[in-house]
C-alpha cells in the first residue's frame, strides 16, 4: 500500500500519459472529454482513476486502448506505452498491441462475452490473433488461465457457454482472457461495479493477487472510494475532464488537498454503526406488519416438461413503526426487489399477509385496493427510465392525484410547492424530464410520490444509479422529508453503507428469507448471522468496528 515517492526513472513507468486532450464532438456540454491530463502508471503498481460520471475516466482508458469512437478525436498529447508513443500509430500496429501489451476488462461481465461462443473459444481467440502457437498450445494455456483465475473445474469450464456462468465467474473469464498474453498493463474499467458486494470483494482480491504475482501494472477505473482504499497504490482524481489531484493512495485518502476530492471523500457513505436517534418512541401500532409473506415464480411449460419454481420471497415477516425506516439489504437474487413489489401490490403474493394500518391488503382485489394506492408510493431506481420522456414534469406529478379526484388547480399548486420543497425551482413544472440531471430527476420522482401524501414510501435502490455526491444529497432529502411528514419508509438497497445511513432497522435478505433483522449497530458492529458477517466484511474500504464520522449528513 505504501507508494514510493522518490523520483522515478522512465523505465519504472509502464504507461505514461502527458498533456492528453480529447475533443468531444460539437454540441456536447463540454468541448473536451479530457483536457491536458498527465499521469504515470508505475511498473508493478495499481493506479486508481476515480471520478464521477462524466469525469472523462472511461474516455482516458479507451484512448489508451485506441478504442475511441470515431467521432471523438485525440487532439494532442502523448501516451507512452513501453516507451512507444501510441498516439498517431497506425490501426494495425495498435491492434497488435491490444490484448498483447495492454488489455482491458469491462464493467458488465454479463454482456462482455459473446453469448454464441464457448468460454474456451473466446480465450483461444486472443492468443490466435497474436500468433501464440498451435491450437493445442492455446487450449492448454486457456485451461491454465482458467485455473489461475480460480474457476472450478477448468476443463469443463473451457467448453461452457457464458450464460451458464454467474456474473463473478464471467468476470473471472474476462480476467483470464486479459491475462492470456501476459500484458504489461491491465486496464480495468469499473470491473466490480456491476457485481454483488461479496463477489466484488473476491474479484478485487483476485486482481490484487495476480497483479502481485506477475508484477503487472494495473490502471483501475472506479467511482468508489471504498474500492480505492482496498487496492490502490496511487490515485488520480478526475473532475469534468481535468486531473484535480494525484498522489499515493494514503496521501489522497487521508489528507486530500483539492476541495473536490475532499467533497467526494466526505460524500462517501460510510458504515455508521450508530443508530438513528429519534425523539419519540414508537409507541403506536405498526403501520405495516408483514406476516409469512411468500412469492413463488413459476417458469417453463404448464403442460409439458418440468416446471421450474423459484421462491423469491419465503416466509418473510417484519413490522414497521410509523415514521421509521426499514432497510432491506441483500445481493442480487435475494428477493429484496420482489418484496418491494409485493408491498405495493405490483406483484400478487402467494401466501401470508400484509397488514397496512391493520387491514390485510395482500388479499384485496385491485379494485378494492385502489383507494389505498395513494397511501403507499414507490420511488424507483432509474431516474432516467421511470419518468415518461413525453410528459412534462407537471403532468407527471398531477396525473396521479387527479385520477384520484383532486381538482387540477389544487394539484398544480401542490406540485409547485413540492418541487420547491425537494429543491427544484417552480419553473420545473412545465419542463420535460430530459432537461434535468439524474439527481434532479430523482428529486422529481420523490416529489411525485409525495403528491399523494403517502403513509408509506417504498424506495427500491433509489440512490443506486447516482454519483456519490448526489447520493448523499438525496439521502439527506429523504431524511428531511421523513422528519417533516412522518412518512414510513422501506428502503431497499444492495449497498450496506447507504442502508446504515438512513435506516432505523435493517433486514438482511438471502435467498428469499430474512436472515437477520436489527438496528444498524447490531448489523454492522455485532452481526449475528454468518451471512451478515460475510456481507459486512465484503464492503470495500471498511473495517468493521472502525466507524468513521459521517460527513454526508453534515
Amino acid at each position: 500500500m505504501v507508494a514510493s515517492i522518490q523520483a522515478v526513472a522512465p523505465h519504472d513507468v509502464a504507461l505514461s500519459v502527458r498533456d492528453l486532450t480529447v475533443n468531444l464532438p460539437q454540441g456536447m456540454e463540454r468541448t473536451h472529454a479530457v483536457k491536458n491530463i498527465s499521469f504515470d502508471l508505475k511498473r508493478g503498481q495499481i493506479l486508481c482513476i476515480i471520478g464521477e460520471s462524466g469525469s472523462g475516466k472511461s474516455v482516458t482508458a479507451n484512448a489508451i486502448m485506441g478504442l475511441l469512437p470515431k467521432v471523438i478525436r485525440l487532439s494532442s498529447g502523448v501516451i507512452q506505452l513501453e516507451g512507444m508513443n501510441i498516439i498517431g500509430m497506425s490501426p494495425d500496429k495498435l491492434r497488435n498491441l491490444r490484448g498483447r501489451v495492454v488489455s482491458m476488462i469491462f464493467q458488465d461481465p454479463l454482456s462482455a462475452l459473446n453469448p454464441l461462443m464457448t468460454v474456451g473459444a473466446q480465450i483461444d481467440e486472443v492468443m490466435a490473433a497474436h500468433g501464440f502457437g498451435t491450437p493445442q498450445a492455446c487450449r492448454n494455456r486457456a485451461i491454465e488461465l482458467l485455473t489461475e483465475v480460480g474457476l472450478p473445474d477448468p476443463e469443463l469450464m473451457y467448453h461452457q457457454y457464458p450464460f451458464r456462468l454467474s456474473g463473478g465467474q464471467r468476470q473471472r473469464v474476462m480476467i483470464a482472457m486479459a491475462l492470456a498474453l501476459e500484458p504489461t498493463v491491465l486496464i480495468a474499467d469499473e470491473p466490480t461495479t456491476a457485481l454483488d458486494v461479496t463477489t466484488q470483494a473476491q474479484i478485487l482480491q483476485l486482481i490484487r493477487d495476480i497483479q502481485r504475482r506477475k508484477g503487472m501494472s494495473v490502471m483501475f477505473i472506479t467511482h468508489d472510494f471504498g474500492v480505492v482504499a482496498e487496492i490502490a497504490d496511487s490515485v488520480v482524481v478526475m473532475e469534468k475532464g481535468h486531473v484535480v489531484e494525484q498522489g499515493s493512495a494514503e496521501q489522497v485518502l487521508k489528507s486530500p488537498k483539492h476541495p473536490y476530492t475532499q467533497r467526494l471523500i466526505a460524500a462517501v457513505p460510510h458504515l455508521t454503526g450508530e443508530d438513528r436517534s429519534r425523539p419519540e418512541a414508537a409507541s403506536k401500532e405498526p403501520i405495516l406488519k408483514v406476516e409469512g409473506l411468500v412469492k413463488t415464480y413459476r417458469g417453463g411449460s404448464a403442460l409439458f416438461g418440468a416446471q421450474r419454481t423459484v421462491t423469491a420471497v419465503n416466509e418473510v415477516s417484519f413490522e414497521l413503526a410509523p415514521g421509521r425506516t426499514l432497510g432491506v439489504v441483500g445481493e442480487s437474487g435475494s428477493g429484496k426487489s420482489s418484496l418491494g413489489r409485493l408491498l405495493i401490490k405490483l406483484l400478487d403474493s402467494d401466501g401470508g399477509g400484509i397488514l397496512f394500518e391493520g387491514c390485510d391488503i395482500a388479499k384485496l382485489s385491485e379494485a378494492k385496493f385502489r383507494p389505498l394506492r395513494p397511501r403507499i408510493q414507490m420511488i424507483f431506481q432509474d431516474p432516467f427510465a421511470s419518468l415518461n420522456p413525453r410528459s412534462t414534469v407537471g403532468h407527471i406529478m398531477t396525473v396521479g392525484p387527479m385520477a384520484h379526484g383532486m381538482p387540477y388547480v389544487q394539484a398544480r399548486d401542490e406540485a409547485r410547492a413540492l418541487l420547491a420543497h425537494v429543491g427544484l425551482d417552480a419553473g420545473a413544472f412545465g419542463r420535460y424530464p430530459h432537461e434535468f440531471s439524474g439527481g434532479q430527476r430523482q428529486r422529481i420522482g420523490i416529489a411525485r410520490a409525495l403528491m399523494f401524501k403517502p403513509k408509506l414510501l417504498i424506495a427500491d435502490e433509489a440512490v443506486s444509479a447516482l454519483d456519490v455526491s448526489i447520493q448523499a444529497q438525496i439521502l439527506q432529502l429523504l431524511d428531511q422529508i421523513q422528519r417533516e411528514t412522518g412518512v414510513s419508509m422501506v428502503f431497499i438497497t444492495h449497498d450496506l453503507r447507504v442502508a446504515s445511513q438512513i435506516c432505523d432497522e435493517i433486514a438482511v435478505m438471502q435467498k428469499g428469507r430474512i436472515v437477520e433483522r436489527g438496528p444498524p449497530s447490531q448489523i454492522f458492529l455485532n452481526p449475528q448471522a454468518a451471512y451478515t458477517r460475510q456481507l459486512v466484511a465484503a464492503i470495500p474500504g471498511e473495517r468493521p468496528g472502525n466507524a468513521r464520522p459521517v460527513a454526508a449528513n453534515a
Binding site: R95, G99, A112, E125, F163, M174, F304
Partner: protein, 316 residues
C-alpha cells in the same frame, strides 16, 4: 427441447383447427354460395341446381359439411375441384413447382443480397453506400411491384427483346435453360422488394450486434476487424433473421399474386385468385389450409433452428 417441441406442435394443431373453422365458416357465409353462378345460366333449371347441391353434399347443415370435409382432410382426401373434378392436392401440386421455382430463386437473391447490403451499410453507417442503400430500399418498398414488372417487360421484352414477357416456358420446350430464361425477369422484379426489406432488417440487426459490449471486448483483444465482423457481429445479427426467414417460408410456397399475374406465371398465387373467381371452394379451402400449415411450419422450423444455433436455448 422435447417438451418445447411437443408444446409447439400441440399449439399448432389447435391453431390449425381454429383457422379451418374460421375459413370454412367465412367461405360458406358468403352470399350466393358455390352454385350461384349457375343461377344466371338459362340452360340450368332450379331443379338442376338442387340436384347438383345434393350431389356435392351442399344441402346438408354446414357443421356436418365441415366435419365431413375435415375428416376427409385428415385422411388425406382434400376433396375435388368444382371446376374440373381433379383432386385438390393434385391441383395444388401442379402449381407448386412453378411457385417454388420463382419464389425460391427470388428469396435466395433477396436474402443473400439483402444481408450483404445490410451488413455493409451497418459497418459503414452514414457512408455514401449506406445512404444509397437506404434510398434504394425506400424506393423499392414504395413503388408497387406491378409497376416494376411492367417497366421490366417494356424495357427487356418489348424494346430490347432479351427476355420473354411471360409464362414459364415456350410451349413444347421443357429445357432447364428455357425455364431459367423465363425466370430471370419475374424473380428479379419480385426480389426487389424483398432485398429492400431484408437489407433494412439486416442493417438494424447488425447495428444492434455492433453496439454490444462483447464487440468492444473483441476489439480490446486485438482481433482484426474482419474477424470481429465475421465471428462476433454477423453470427449474433443473424439470430433474429432466422425467425424472419421462417415467416418468409409460407410466402415462398403460396406464391406472389401480383408478380405471377403480371408475368402470367402459373403459380399458386394465380391458382388462388382463379379459384376464388370460380367459387371453387374445395381448392380455396385447400390452399387456405396449405398456407396455414406452412405458416405454422415456418415458425416451428425457425424456432428449432434458433434453438440449435443459440446455446442459451439449446442447453437451457
Amino acid at each position: 427441447m422435447r417438451g418445447f417441441l411437443l408444446n409447439r406442435l400441440s399449439q399448432s394443431l389447435v391453431l390449425l383447427v381454429i383457422v379451418s373453422i374460421i375459413g370454412f365458416g367465412i367461405l360458406n357465409l358468403l352470399p350466393g354460395g358455390p352454385l350461384a353462378q349457375f343461377g344466371l345460366d338459362p340452360g340450368m333449371t332450379q331443379q338442376d341446381i338442387e340436384r347438383l347441391k345434393g350431389l356435392l353434399g351442399l344441402d346438408r347443415p354446414i357443421w356436418i359439411q365441415y366435419l365431413d370435409w375435415a375428416w376427409r382432410l385428415v385422411r388425406g382426401d382434400w376433396g375435388h375441384s368444382f371446376r374440373d373434378g381433379a383432386p385438390v392436392l393434385e391441383v395444388i401440386g401442379s402449381h407448386l413447382f412453378a411457385t417454388l421455382l420463382l419464389m425460391g430463386s427470388s428469396t435466395v437473391i433477396a436474402i443473400s443480397i439483402g444481408a450483404w447490403i445490410g451488413i455493409r451499410g451497418a459497418t459503414r453507417r452514414y457512408s455514401l453506400f449506406d445512404y444509397l442503400a437506404t434510398v434504394g430500399a425506400m424506393v423499392a418498398l414504395s413503388v408497387p411491384t406491378f409497376w416494376f414488372g411492367l417497366v421490366g417487360i417494356y424495357v427487356f421484352s418489348l424494346k430490347l427483346g432479351w427476355l420473354p414477357a411471360g409464362n414459364m416456358s415456350e410451349i413444347g420446350d421443357g429445357s432447364i435453360l428455357g425455364y431459367l430464361h423465363h425466370l430471370i425477369l419475374p424473380s428479379i422484379v419480385l426480389s426487389l422488394v424483398h432485398v429492400a426489406i431484408w437489407s433494412r432488417y439486416m442493417r438494424t440487426a447488425t447495428l444492434d450486434a455492433i453496439s454490444q459490449d462483447f464487440v468492444k471486448t473483441a476489439r480490446a483483444k486485438g482481433l482484426s476487424e474482419r474477424r470481429i465482423l465475421m465471428k462476433h457481429v454477423v453470427g449474433n445479427a443473424l439470430l433474429p433473421m432466422i425467425t424472419l426467414a421462417g415467416m418468409q417460408l409460407p410466402s415462398v410456397l403460396t406464391g406472389a399474386l401480383v408478380t405471377e399475374t403480371v408475368f402470367t406465371w402459373p403459380g399458386m398465387g394465380r391458382l388462388f385468385l382463379d379459384s376464388l373467381g370460380y367459387s371453387d371452394y374445395p381448392v380455396v379451402m385447400g390452399l387456405l389450409m396449405f398456407s396455414a400449415i406452412l405458416v405454422l411450419l415456418g415458425n416451428l422450423i425457425a424456432d428449432i433452428v434458433v434453438a440449435i444455433v443459440d446455446p442459451r436455448i439449446r442447453l437451457a
